[in-house]
Symmetry: C2
Subunit: 372 residues, 2 copies
């Protein structure tokens, strides 16, 4: 490769945020932090968590640049603060952080119920707050399973109120899109009614079914495929699930009312086989048309992300530079491109290859980030 | 390999049945037929189905030895008859076959509701009838997806009545075990109450949930992971599902009553967060302790089954014979062993390898069966 191929030297794109703070580094918080780093959305990502073990793990996984165990004056530097504590800890956390927040900072949360939080933030005089809810999760929680890929293509609801500054909403949208998720904007109570139907009611129905087979060996013996599917969500974290449904109990009661109505109707149709057949057909049509969220299911173990300026042939330069050094690229993906440039994710064969490629690319003037 | 390794020549084990007839060659019937052949449980397996296309497919897949489009005198040869038509066609089929059945033949069915069928068979004077229900299935039905592996380790309920001859029950157990499934014996009404709880109620609940999001784009947009799990069974064949629940409506009503009670209790617990947490913990415990049915999820594409007599070193002889010829065995499994011997299933690399291995083993005196 000739010298001219590499000039002018690549320029790292300007990130959306300077200092981003993720408060509460669990499954979602850790995934957001990892996404902010990997996708060059923030110059510096700070993880805030009361647990030193969690912070150590987040650092080891390469999800954050720095860690802090307590709130303090250092928070004034942050122009993005993501509240990612569990539901029950969210308001105490907001109260703890509020005195230190920069008024210009964009503040958002990831709680699964949205009624109430905006009013609380207003009371705390946090002006640029936009409540949010990434519809992503996993039965296996905790920072250990955090992964930026969890958020890719996920629906991420934003619930502004009349008080939300439009610029804040706009920045929140850009953040969500930058993380690879799909922003959907709606009022808080509309969100709560929707998740009561698609998430909290299914959890309660699943729990009711498991209780019907509890302590009955013959029943659990017969509980094959379909029953396992229907009760999978009952296997989630009991405390988080409990908090979620209690927080949203008004909307959940309404969803239960509508669910009972549907059950009654189907029970009546047991005497009207043609009606029941029509209902079965409609159910299948609806189920088969539900969108499938596509995301990388298997996190790349040996990958790195390299920032590229928006100039011709950057992909060629990166791949040729590595190819000339004998590094085998197994997978390549173009991450979100912004005006100033974008980033490439490269999947390599081994940890050694990641180390080698990082050195080579940095030597050629590229900025590189990896996992772990 | 020396000549002595192969002598005395292998003897094919005596099958449990001479002529087996599977009437209705769909997903379950085809899988039973395939199992009867592959596992050497019957000397000859005849598929009976009104559809010529289905019969052609069953032959092409190697599930049956012979096919017949209509009942007739030829049925007198059968010492095993498996009624595997869908629920709604089961009684007409029994009536069609009854005049031709050999009184000594073991007759069984695979319907998902058991109340009533035994009385009907008694009326038809079919003496050696044992009602059965293999708890196996797939969202993808039809002979195309039939596979003996579907029945492996599946719970297979047998529901004898006071009139069932003990010898018939004993033969039915041996059949079920021979197919690799786990027989569980209980009265018909106990079975129907159990499947109402673990199968028919979950279907109705799933259907009710899908109806709640029907024609609401915002709802189906948010319907991620958990909701998809809970509504998967609503994606099954509408007519078969409808027939199943209508047939079992009495038991299903009782299950619905108990389900509503559990939902009411959980709704009340929304005001008692500690109670709800305990309920969430109990639900998780129950769900996590449900048995997982282990079976070969990916059917071996290139496999063959070879009968081996119960003598020392048969596995060694088979593998050495193939190894000497350069055939690479990727997988090997010992199928059910009976007194006279058993069978080995070999997974090979390609269709060519199956053809080659079949020739070699037959040349060495072994009986070989394959898929397709």
């Amino acid at each position: 490769m000739s010298e001219t191929d590499l000039s002018p030297l690549p320029v790292t794109p300007t990130p959306l945020f300077g200092t981003a703070v993720v408060a509460g580094v669990g499954l979602i918080g850790g995934s957001v932090a990892g996404g902010l780093r990997q996708r060059f959305l923030a110059r510096r990502v700070i993880g805030l968590d009361a647990s030193v073990d969690v912070l150590r793990e987040a650092e080891a996984l390469g999800l954050v640049d720095e860690v802090r165990p307590t709130a303090g004056e250092w928070l004034r530097d942050a122009d993005l603060v993501v509240l990612a504590a569990p539901m029950r800890a969210l308001l105490p956390l907001a109260n703890e952080l509020a005195p230190f927040l920069n008024p210009a900072a964009l503040v958002t949360d990831v709680g699964s119920v949205k009624g109430g939080i905006a009013a609380e933030m207003e009371r705390l005089m946090v002006r640029n707050f936009v409540a949010g809810h990434p519809m992503a999760g996993s039965e296996r929680g905790g920072v250990t399973h955090a992964n930026a890929a969890l958020l890719e293509n996920a629906v991420w609801v934003l619930t502004p109120t009349d008080q939300t500054p439009l610029t804040a909403l706009s920045r929140a949208r850009t953040l969500v899109e930058g993380l690879g998720a799909a922003p959907v904007v709606m009022p808080p109570d509309a969100h709560d009614a929707l998740v009561a139907t698609v998430s909290h009611l299914p959890y309660l129905a699943s729990l009711a079914l498991t209780h019907m087979v509890a302590r009955d060996e013959r029943l659990s013996l017969l509980a094959a495929g379909g029953f396992r599917d229907l009760t999978r969500v009952a296997s989630g974290d009991p405390r988080m699930s409990r908090d979620m449904v209690v927080e949203n109990k008004a909307a959940l009661r309404e969803a239960l009312r509508r669910f009972r109505y549907q059950l009654d109707r189907l029970e009546a149709d047991l005497e009207e086989p043609e009606e029941l057949l029509a209902a079965a057909h409609e159910g299948k049509r609806t189920r088969d048309s539900l969108p499938v969220v596509r995301r990388s299911l298997l996190p790349q173990k040996y990958d790195l992300v390299v920032a590229v300026p928006d100039r011709p042939n950057q992909i060629g330069i990166v791949t040729q530079t590595l190819g000339a050094a004998g590094v085998n690229i197994k997978d390549i993906e173009v991450l979100a491109i912004r005006e100033e440039g974008g980033a490439l994710r490269l999947g390599l064969e081994s940890a050694d290859a990641v180390t080698q490629a990082t050195g080579i690319l940095r030597g050629a003037g590229f900025e590189v980030r990896g996992r772990g």
